[in-house]
C-alpha cells in the first residue's frame, strides 16, 4: 500500500499548504496550539446570543469559552456555582441579591466591565422587552419600544421571562456593586445567574452595532476567546483574548466546523482534519477507540430523556393506562442494548446537582419494570387495545428511533397497541389538529435546584401544559411553592410530592435514561470532557498540553 503522509503528498503535488496543514502550521510556530472541532451543528439560530440560542449545541460553543456570567457554572466539577464576573454575593432579603463585581475585567473591545454593563444585560432593551415581572412592575428601566432592526427578536422577552419570571430590575449601587431585585421571594436567584442567558455583554458594543443581527453574530464579551470569524452553518472561529481576567488562554484558535454526517466527522478525525469529533453515536465509539492514537470521552450530561403523554387522547386520559406504560419499559435493557451501558437510568426526574442544595429525594426511583403490574393496570382500566399514536422524529435524540421501536415492542408485550407515526419536525410533533398520544422529549437541569426541569418544563408555564398535553392542579400549586417559598423543608416536600404526581399518580411523562455525549479526539491532547455539551478550553483543562 502506498505509504505517503499528507505533507509529503502536498510536496509531491507542488501544492500550497493551504487549509490542509493550517493547525499543524500554527503549532509549529512555537505559539499556542489551535484546535479544530467537528460538530453536527454549530448553533440552531445562527446567532451567538445566549438568550436566543438556548439549545444543547449552542451550549457547546457559547460556554465557557465565549460568554461569562456574574456567577459561573463549575463545568469541570459538580456543575455548581463558582465566582465569575462577581467575586462575592449575599442576600439583602429573600427578594434581593447584592453582588460585588470583579475589578479589572476587560471586554474584548478593551472596555472595563462595570455595573452599567450588568444592568444593561438584564434590561428591557436587551432581553425583557415590554414584559412585566410576575407579581410586580419593572423598575430601574426606561420605557422600551421595539421598532427597528436593532430591536431584539419578538421571541426573546418570553425566553427571558421563562428564566427570570419575577426579576423587577438591576440596581446600580456603585461602579462595582449591583443589586438584583425580584418582585417575589426566590431562593434560586443565584442559580439563575449561571443559567444560559444570564451572561454579561458590553453595552458599548451593543450600542455601536447597526442591527441586532450584527451584534448577535459577533458579540463582545469577557470570555477567554473572542469571535474572529463566524460563517453561519459553516464554521465559527474563536481567537485567544490575552487580556482575559483568568489568565492567558491556552489555545490560539478554536475552530468549530459544521459536519452534519457522523461518518464524515469520524473520517475527518481519523485523517487528521479535525482534533475533535463531537456528537458520536454509541455505535461509532468502537471504530474510533480501536484506531491508534485516538480515544472517545464519554460523559453523562444533565439532561434526561423522557416520553410525554397527551391526556387529551381518550385512552391516555386514564392515568391507569399511563401508569401501565411506565411499568412496561425495561430501561436497564435499553441502556445496555443501545448505549452499551454508558449511561444510566436516573432516580426519576432528579439530578446529582440537587444534592448540593440538599434537594435530592433519596430513595425515589424510575418506575419499576413490572409487566405483570402493567397488565393488571390495563385490566383495571378496561383497555381494549385501542391504538395510541407515538409521534417520533428521525433521531433528533441519539438512538431515538431504535429506542422508540423497542418501547413499542415492550408495550406490545403487555397488550398495549402503540403505533409509531414518523414526523419530520417539532411543528408536526406538536400539531394539535389531529389526535396526539405520546412524544419524545428531554428535560434539562440548568441550576442546582429541582425547579429545573420540573417546574420550568412541566409546571403551569412549561410548554407541556401550554400545549395542553397534560395538566395537574396540585402540581401547579406546588410549582408556586417551588418558585416563591424560601422554606427549604417546604420546598423539599413539594418536589417530592411533584415527583409522585408526575411519575406515578398522574404520569405526565415516563423517565427513560440520562443522556450522554461522546467526543472522539486525539489522545495526545490530554483534554477532559465536562459532564455537559460545553467544551472547556480554558487554562486548567489544558494545563498539561504544550501543543
Amino acid at each position: 500500500m502506498l505509504n505517503l503522509n499528507r505533507r509529503q503528498a502536498i510536496s509531491l503535488f507542488g501544492a500550497t499548504a493551504g487549509g490542509l496543514v493550517l493547525p499543524g502550521y500554527l503549532r509549529a510556530q512555537g505559539a499556542r496550539p489551535s484546535v479544530t472541532v467537528a460538530v453536527q451543528k454549530i448553533t440552531i439560530n445562527n446567532t451567538l446570543d445566549p438568550w436566543r440560542e438556548q439549545s444543547n449545541v449552542g451550549e457547546r460553543v457559547l460556554y465557557p469559552n465565549l460568554w461569562e456570567g456574574l456567577i459561573l457554572r463549575d463545568w469541570m466539577g459538580d456543575q455548581g456555582p463558582v465566582p465569575g464576573l462577581a467575586t462575592e454575593w449575599h442576600r439583602i432579603d429573600d427578594k434581593t441579591l447584592e453582588l460585588k463585581l470583579r475589578k479589572g475585567v476587560k471586554f474584548h473591545n478593551g472596555d472595563e466591565m462595570t455595573a452599567e454593563d450588568v444592568a444593561f444585560s438584564f434590561s428591557p432593551e436587551r432581553v425583557f422587552g415590554d414584559t412585566q415581572p410576575a407579581g410586580g412592575q419593572t423598575i430601574y428601566s426606561e420605557n422600551y419600544t421595539p421598532e427597528t432592526a436593532k430591536d431584539i427578536p419578538a421571541s426573546l422577552p418570553g425566553v427571558g421571562r421563562r428564566k427570570w419570571p419575577a426579576l423587577a430590575g438591576v440596581e446600580i449601587v456603585d461602579r462595582y456593586t449591583v443589586r438584583f431585585h425580584n418582585a417575589t421571594p426566590d431562593v434560586t436567584m443565584e442559580g439563575r445567574l449561571y443559567a444560559g442567558g444570564s451572561q454579561i455583554l458590553n453595552r458599548r458594543a451593543w450600542d455601536e452595532a447597526a442591527t441586532y443581527n450584527e451584534w448577535a453574530t459577533r458579540p463582545i464579551t469577557t470570555g477567554p476567546y473572542f469571535v474572529e470569524d463566524h460563517r453561519p452553518d459553516v464554521s465559527l472561529t474563536y481567537r485567544a483574548f490575552d487580556d482575559y481576567w483568568g489568565g492567558r488562554p491556552p489555545l490560539e484558535r478554536i475552530t468549530f466546523v459544521e459536519v452534519p454526517e457522523v461518518s464524515s466527522r469520524v473520517n475527518g478525525l481519523l485523517s487528521g482534519e479535525y482534533d475533535f469529533a463531537c456528537d458520536l453515536p454509541p455505535d461509532q465509539i468502537g471504530g474510533v477507540m480501536n484506531a491508534p492514537g485516538f480515544e472517545v470521552q464519554s460523559s453523562t450530561i444533565w439532561n434526561h430523556r423522557v416520553s410525554c403523554f397527551n391526556t387529551e387522547h381518550p385512552v391516555l386520559a386514564d392515568p391507569l393506562v399511563r401508569r401501565a406504560m411506565t411499568h412496561s419499559i425495561d430501561r436497564d435493557a435499553i441502556v445496555a442494548a443501545l448505549w452499551g451501558g454508558m449511561t444510566k437510568v436516573p432516580a426519576g426526574l432528579q439530578f446529582e446537582s440537587f444534592r448540593s442544595s440538599d434537594m435530592f429525594i433519596e430513595g425515589w426511583t424510575a418506575p419499576e419494570y413490572n409487566p405483570e403490574l402493567a397488565r393488571g393496570l390495563l385490566k383495571q382500566a378496561n383497555y381494549k387495545g385501542d391504538p395510541i399514536p407515538f409521534r417520533l422524529l428521525n433521531n433528533y435524540y441519539i438512538n431515538q428511533v431504535s429506542n422508540g421501536q423497542i418501547m413499542v415492542e415492550m408495550w406490545k408485550q403487555v397488550g398495549l397497541n402503540v403505533e409509531i407515526e414518523m414526523k419530520e419536525n417539532w411543528g408536526q410533533i406538536l400539531d394539535a389538529s389531529t389526535t396526539r398520544g405520546i412524544r419524545d422529549w428531554s428535560a434539562s437541569n440548568t441550576i442546582n435546584d429541582p425547579i429545573t426541569p420540573m417546574v420550568v418544563q412541566f409546571g403551569p408555564n412549561g410548554s407541556i401544559q401550554q400545549y395542553k398535553e397534560w395538566t395537574n392542579v396540585e402540581l401547579n400549586e406546588l410549582s408556586q411553592v417551588m418558585e416563591t417559598s424560601t422554606d427549604h423543608a417546604k420546598r423539599k416536600k413539594a418536589i417530592a410530592r411533584m415527583l409522585e404526581i408526575a411519575e406515578r399518580e398522574d404520569p405526565a411523562y415516563q423517565m427513560l435514561h440520562q443522556n450522554a455525549v461522546f467526543t472522539g479526539m486525539r489522545s495526545e491532547l490530554n483534554w477532559k470532557a465536562a459532564p455537559a455539551f460545553a467544551m472547556d478550553f480554558r487554562g486548567p483543562n489544558w494545563a498539561t498540553n504544550d501543543g
Binding site: M1, L2, L4, R6, A9, A15, G18, G19, L20, I44, N45, N46, Q54, S55, A149, P153, A154, S155, P157, G158, V159, R162, T211, Y212, N213, A216, T217, R231, P232, D233, V234, S235, V257, V259, P260, E261, S263, S264, N267, G268, L270, S271, G272, E273, E424, N425, W426, G427, Q428, I429, L430, D431, W441, S444, Q457, N461, G462, S463, Q466, Y467
Partner: protein, 308 residues
C-alpha cells in the same frame, strides 16, 4: 423564430410561477416554522410572538399575495433564523456550489461523451464492454456510498486529500469527483446508444460507400445527428448545476446551496427555501430554453417546423 422563442419564454415564466406557488403552499402546509425553529421547550407565548413577527398568523392567501408583491419589487424576504436577507444568503453560497458542479460537469462531458463514442465505434469489443461495465457501476453506486469510499481511500488510508470541509482546491477534488462519476456513466451510455443508432442509418452507409473518409463520416455525419439526445442530457446537467450537490455537499461538509437547502428546509426557513427553489427553477428553465434553441441550430428540420 421570434414566435418559437416567445412561446418558450412564456412557458418558462409560467413554470417559474408554478414552482414559486407550489413551494409557498407546500412549505406552509408541512410544519409550523415557529415550532421548528424555536424547539420543543419554548412556551406558547414565545411561539405566538414569533408567528406574529413573521406574519405566520395571517391567512395563507394574504401571505401569498404579500410574497408575490415583494418578489416583483425585488424583495426576497429575510431568513427567520438570523434575519439576514434571504437573497444575500443564497447568492453567497452559489460560488461554493459552482466550485464543485462546474468541474464535475466538465469531467462528465470530457470523459463520458468520448468514452461513449469510443465504445460505440468499437462495438462489442472488450473495450466497449469495459466502458459499459464502468458506466453502469458509475451511475448505480449512490453518491453517498461513492463519496465515503473515496474518503476512506484518499483521506483516511492514504492521507492524500482532505476528508471534507471548505478550503483550498484540494478540498474540492473528492466531492467534485464523487459528483462526476455518476454523470460520466450516464453520458457514456447515452452517447454510446445515440452513436450506435446513428451509425446504423442509411446516410452513414451512403457516405462510406461514396468513399468519404471514416473520420469525416463520424465527424461530419454521425456526431451532429447523435448530438440531440446528448445535448438533452447535458442540458439537464447544466440545469442541475445549482441544485445537484445536496447529498455530496452534506457528506463533504461543503457550504454550498445544497447544504443551505437542507438546513433551511429542516428549519422551515421559508424565505430562504423559496429563494433557493426560485433560483433552481430559473436556472433549469434557462437551461431548457437554451437546449430548445440548440435543437433548432443542430437540426434544421426543427427550425423549419417552428417557422411554420
Amino acid at each position: 423564430m421570434i414566435r418559437f422563442v416567445s412561446i418558450r419564454l412564456l412557458r418558462a415564466a409560467i413554470t417559474v410561477l408554478a414552482v414559486m406557488t407550489f413551494a409557498f403552499v407546500v412549505l406552509r402546509l408541512s410544519g409550523d416554522p415557529a415550532a421548528v425553529l424555536l424547539g420543543p421547550d419554548v412556551p406558547k407565548d414565545v411561539v405566538d410572538a414569533f408567528r406574529a413577527e413573521w406574519h405566520l398568523d395571517e391567512p395563507i392567501w394574504r401571505q401569498y399575495l404579500a410574497y408575490i408583491e415583494a418578489i416583483f419589487s425585488g424583495d426576497f424576504g429575510q431568513s427567520m433564523r438570523d434575519r439576514s436577507p434571504a437573497l444575500e444568503l443564497v447568492l453567497e453560497r452559489v460560488p461554493a456550489t459552482l466550485m464543485l458542479t462546474v468541474p464535475a460537469l466538465l469531467l462528465k462531458i470530457g470523459l463520458g461523451i468520448p468514452a461513449g463514442i469510443y465504445a460505440a465505434l468499437h462495438r462489442d469489443s472488450a473495450l466497449d464492454r469495459g466502458v459499459i461495465l464502468l458506466a453502469i457501476l458509475g451511475f448505480t453506486i449512490p453518491s453517498f456510498v461513492m463519496g465515503l469510499v473515496l474518503v476512506l481511500i484518499f483521506a483516511v488510508t492514504w492521507n492524500l486529500l482532505p476528508s471534507g470541509g471548505f478550503g483550498g482546491w484540494q478540498h474540492a477534488i473528492l466531492p467534485a469527483l464523487t459528483m462526476s462519476i455518476g454523470g460520466i456513466g450516464i453520458l457514456a451510455r447515452f452517447s454510446r446508444s445515440a452513436m450506435i443508432e446513428v451509425m446504423g442509418q442509411p446516410y452513414i452507409r451512403t457516405a462510406s460507400a461514396k468513399g468519404v473518409k471514416w473520420r469525416d463520416v463520424v465527424r461530419g455525419h454521425a456526431l451532429p445527428n447523435a448530438a440531440i439526445p446528448i445535448v438533452t442530457i447535458v442540458g439537464f446537467m447544466v440545469g442541475a448545476l445549482i441544485a445537484g450537490a445536496v447529498v455530496v455537499e452534506t457528506i463533504f461538509s461543503w457550504p454550498g446551496i445544497g447544504r443551505l437547502l437542507i438546513v433551511s428546509v429542516s428549519n422551515r426557513d421559508l424565505a430562504v427555501v423559496q429563494c433557493i427553489l426560485l433560483l433552481i427553477a430559473a436556472v433549469m428553465v434557462v437551461s431548457n430554453l437554451t437546449v430548445d434553441l440548440l435543437y433548432g441550430w443542430l437540426d434544421p428540420r426543427l427550425r423549419a417546423g417552428a417557422a411554420h
